[in-house]
Structures are given as structure tokens and as C-alpha cells.
């Protein structure tokens, strides 16, 4: 069976791969959106924390024998800790200044982290084994889907839903939304906003590290694995509307799918399509699809 002259198998196959990529975009842009909402900082280092998550999993595995499942929990916590230290020591000094300072500061962290890992491990990358339990494949009829990729989608969706639940349904989430909306007033109500900001940054980069561990068996663990991905993630966040949590997740998955389809019809264009969508969305809705316009 063909659709627009393309075998439906190929179409569904690319759709599945698009959903896998979209899962990474969703988790990464979710973290970026939370950080931007509370800190009003565009975290340029997000891709570096993604890479750091993958490297922590890799190092924990090769030096300490920590397996994938433990790394999936430990690496995000370690990276969250590093992120919180960075926020506490450096990032909080640029709040309230021109946004360019936050951008430069987080970008400088990218250079330091990527440079450091390049010196230590080289640029070529390290293989990270797929966990044994997920080495099989599922026959979907139209394609053979590796179990691990199915797991990536399930884990990403679960993490996004859990994050949504914490933000929308818990007291901590109410503090977070309050601080996002009016941080000064929230402090005047007796809520420790500086601590909340530190925790938010930790949670945001922890999400990036979680995505990094998920990515480790699929991509080679290498120092620049974050930079290539994060450019698309920035486009996703801009399309979804900066600071919109729901928008980040939906746009992330949606653009993964759009990319997948583009690969079927005109594969040379698949790495550009996201930016074309970004331009079109910004022309029609300058605040992004789910963003609130000021005023």
C-alpha cells in the first residue's frame, strides 16, 4: 500500500523514529522551559548537561561497574547537584541583569564542559551498551522496533507526565508556578525563593541528564552530543512558547514526528524543517504556539 507514492511501511517507520527523537526533544525542552520560567535565564548549557548525564552514566559504568538502571537514577541526581552548585556559585549573580549575561555565562559553561571532556576522552566517543533486558526488538508489522527505543519513548513520556503532575498538582508545584509568575511577591509570603530557584535549576538540568542517559546507548557518548541536539531543542522551545511547560512537551513530540515525515518525502530537508516551522510560527504567533503574549 502506498501513500503519496511512499510505501506506508516506510512512513510508519519514520513516524516511530520521529517519536523517539521527539521524546528527547520533549524531555530537554521541558527542562529548558521550567528553568526559563523561574530563572528567566535561557540555559545555553542545557545540551552540555545532557552530555554530562551520558558521561556520568558511562564513567559510572566503566569505573564503578554501576549498571544502566542505577545510572538512570544516579546520573540525573549527580548532574542536578553539579547544576545547583553552578547556580549557587555563578548563575545567581546575573539575575536581573541583561539576558545576554546569562546567555554568555551558560555558554561559557558549555565550552568548559565540552573542552574538558574532549581532553579527557577525545572527540570520537565511547560506546555504551544497551541494557541486556532491552536488546530485543518488537515486530510492529510495519517495522521492527528495537525494544530500547520503545523504552526511551515510554520513559520520556512517564517523566514528562510526572513532571507535569508535580508542577500542576502539588504544593511544591504551586510554589514554582507562583515564583514563575511573581517571584518577589512569592518571597514576601515567606517562601524561600532563592532555594526554590536553585532546586528548579537542579531539576531542569537533571531532566537533561536523564535524557542524556537515555541517549547513551543510542548515540555514541561524546563531548559534542549535546550541542547538535540542543540547537533543535531551542527551536522547539521557541515554537512552543518560552516558559510554557505543556507547549514544550507537545511541540517536542510533534516536531520529532514532523522531522520523521520530512525524512520520508525529502530527506535532505529533515534537519532544516524544524527551523522552517519556527519561522512560520513566529510570523503568525510571535509568542509561540502556547506562549502568553505580554500585556
Amino acid at each position: 500500500m502506498d501513500l503519496f507514492g511512499v510505501p506506508i511501511q516506510a512512513l510508519l517507520g519514520q513516524l516511530m523514529l520521529g517519536i523517539v527523537n521527539g521524546s528527547f526533544y520533549a524531555v530537554l525542552s521541558l527542562g529548558l522551559a521550567i528553568i526559563f520560567g523561574v530563572l528567566k535565564i535561557v540555559n545555553f548549557a542545557h545540551g552540555a548537561f545532557f552530555m554530562l548525564g551520558a558521561f556520568v552514566a558511562f564513567m559510572a559504568g566503566s569505573y564503578l561497574g554501576i549498571d544502566y538502571w542505577a545510572a538512570l537514577l544516579i546520573a540525573p541526581l549527580v548532574v542536578a547537584g553539579i547544576g545547583m552548585l553552578f547556580e549557587y556559585l555563578f548563575l545567581r549573580r546575573v539575575y536581573g541583569l541583561d539576558p545576554i549575561y546569562g546567555l554568555l555565562l551558560t555558554f561559557s559553561l558549555v565550552l568548559v564542559l565540552e573542552g574538558g571532556f574532549r581532553v579527557a576522552f577525545g572527540s570520537s566517543g565511547q560506546a555504551y551498551a544497551t541494557p541486556e533486558a532491552l536488546r530485543g526488538a518488537i515486530n510492529l508489522g510495519f517495522m521492527i522496533l528495537p525494544e530500547y527505543r520503545a523504552f526511551v519513548v515510554a520513559a520520556s513520556v512517564t517523566v514528562c507526565l510526572a513532571t507535569w503532575y508535580v508542577i500542576e498538582r502539588t504544593r511544591l508545584g504551586a510554589y514554582l508556578r507562583a515564583a514563575t509568575e511573581r517571584s518577589e511577591l512569592t518571597g514576601a509570603f515567606g517562601i524561600n525563593v532563592p532555594l526554590l530557584v536553585t532546586l528548579t535549576y537542579g531539576a531542569g538540568v537533571g531532566l537533561a541528564a536523564f535524557a542524556g542517559v537515555l541517549a547513551a546507548p543510542i548515540f555514541h557518548v561524546n563531548p559534542s552530543m549535546g550541542s547538535t541536539l540542543v540547537i533543535i531543542v531551542f527551536a522547539v522551545v521557541v515554537i512552543g512558547g518560552l516558559g510554557s511547560i505543556f507547549g514544550a512537551v507537545v511541540t517536542g513530540l510533534g516536531l520529532g514526528i514532523v522531522e520523521g515525515f520530512t525524512r520520508v518525502f525529502y530527506s535532505e530537508f529533515s534537519s532544516t524543517i524544524v527551523f522552517l516551522v519556527m519561522v512560520l510560527v513566529l510570523l503568525v504567533r510571535p509568542a509561540g504556539l502556547f506562549g502568553r503574549t505580554e500585556g
Binding site: 504544593r171 508556578r177 518571597g187 514576601a188 509570603f189 515567606g190 517562601i191
Partner: protein, 247 residues
């Protein structure tokens, strides 16, 4: 009262004011907006700050809460110096703020708005007691904060700080833009709170409203206290005060 007992035990004067502001200066960026404000408020009093627009009334309240970019001088709450503390630690001294724009969060529903400030003293009102005080809020707990009318938002803003157990309330123009029936309901609430021993520092443009609740008055002009009156002297000088306030 454990507070009084502690005050006596530590040898602090029992007449220690609830709030004592001395030589308070505050700045927005380069602009120096308060020039040495002195105000004291005693336990159980309702004190009103009056003054023209831009005189520094709201700035004084924001300075007390620690949400001005820069402030200097001395602000003691129940004898504790708070000038160097961050906002969240000032709130924990038992002072709560109801801002001029009411500060209702649009992204939080009514229940979340109400329960946002953590209790700072044990004897705050429960959510049910707040709803009994402001029946208009009943049945609206799941509505978004932005869906409330102005009057309902004001009730939510006052109810929210009563839950914390704070005994010193800073109210910034609680009657602004509200219908007369709501204004009288707010007035009843303030009198009820006063009967229960709350201390209130009120900023008001509506002088006639202020006169129904206030014990004492401070007049602010260009960031300085220029005049102070008790109830009797305020009424005696009513005409000239109204003229000088431009109302």
C-alpha cells in the same frame, strides 16, 4: 501570652511596638524614594499612611516586606531588626502583606492562592474559617485566580494572609476600585480583625474609609513623614488635611 512573658523575662520594655521604623531610606535603582521615614505601630492598633500619589506609601510597605531593591535604616518587628534579612525570613517574623494589585496568581486556582503562604505562627485561620469570613469565595476554590471579580480577589488576598497566623498585616489600598457594598464588607473585616487583636498598617487613598477604621495617621510627602495625628486631632484638622492631601 507567651510573647509577653518572654518580653518580661528578657527585660524588654512591655510597650515595645509591634513595628518600629527608624530613618528608613529606599531606592528604585538610582532614584531615592524614601528619605528617612519614621513610623511606629503598637500592638492592636490600626495605623493609616496617607499621602498623595507617589509620596512613598506603597514603597514603605514594600520596604517593610524586604521587596525593595535597596533599603537602609532600621525596621524592627516585635523588637527584631529585619533590615538585613531576605523577604522570606521577614515574613516568618509574623508580618504579612496584601499588595495594592492584590497579587492574586493567575496560574494558581483559588485554593492554591489561599494556601500558598506557609503558616508562620500556629494560630492562623483554617481554610474553612477564611471561607466563613468571606462567603463569596465558597464554591470558587477550583476557579483560576484570574477568573475572580475585583472584590473576590481582594477578599482572597486578605483571607490568604490570615491563614498564616501573622499578627501584623500590611494592607495596601484594600478598597481601591471596589463597589461600595464590598468596601463596607472590607471595613467590617478590618474592624473584626482589630477586635481580635491584629495590628494593621493601612495605606489608603480613601480618607473617609480610613477614618472608619484608623486609630492613628501618618502623612507622607515626598518620601518623608510630614505629620502625625491621633483620631481626635485628625478629625479636628480634617479640612486642612484634606486640602493638603489634595483630596
Amino acid at each position: 501570652m507567651p510573647e509577653t512573658a518572654r518580653a518580661h523575662a528578657s527585660g524588654v520594655d512591655a510597650a515595645e511596638p509591634m513595628l518600629r521604623i527608624e530613618n528608613l531610606h529606599a531606592w528604585y535603582g538610582e532614584s531615592h524614594v524614601l528619605h528617612g521615614v519614621n513610623v511606629d505601630v503598637h500592638p492592636g492598633e490600626v495605623v493609616t499612611l496617607l499621602g498623595r500619589n507617589g509620596a512613598g506609601k506603597s514603597t514603605t510597605l514594600k520596604s517593610i516586606m524586604g521587596i525593595m531593591p535597596r533599603r537602609e535604616g532600621s525596621i524592627r518587628i516585635q523588637g527584631e531588626e529585619t533590615i538585613a534579612r531576605p523577604a522570606h525570613r521577614i515574613a516568618r517574623c509574623g508580618v504579612a502583606f496584601c499588595p495594592e494589585d492584590r497579587g492574586i496568581y493567575a496560574t494558581l486556582n483559588v485554593a492554591e492562592n489561599l494556601e500558598l503562604p506557609p503558616p508562620v505562627r500556629p494560630d492562623g485561620l483554617s481554610t474553612d474559617e477564611v471561607l466563613a469570613l468571606f462567603p463569596n469565595l465558597q464554591g470558587r476554590l477550583r476557579s483560576a485566580g484570574s477568573k475572580l471579580s475585583g472584590g473576590e480577589q481582594q477578599m482572597l488576598a486578605i483571607g490568604r494572609i490570615l491563614r498564616t497566623g501573622a499578627r501584623l498585616l500590611l494592607l495596601d489600598e484594600p478598597t481601591e476600585g471596589l463597589a461600595p457594598s464590598i468596601v463596607s464588607q472590607i471595613g467590617d473585616t478590618i474592624r473584626k480583625l482589630k477586635e481580635q487583636g491584629y495590628t494593621i498598617l493601612l495605606v489608603e487613598q480613601n480618607v473617609r474609609f480610613a477614618m472608619t477604621v484608623a486609630d492613628r495617621y501618618f502623612i507622607l510627602d515626598q518620601g518623608r513623614i510630614t505629620d502625625a495625628h491621633d483620631k481626635a486631632s485628625f478629625e479636628d484638622n480634617f479640612e486642612s488635611l484634606m486640602a493638603s492631601l489634595g483630596v
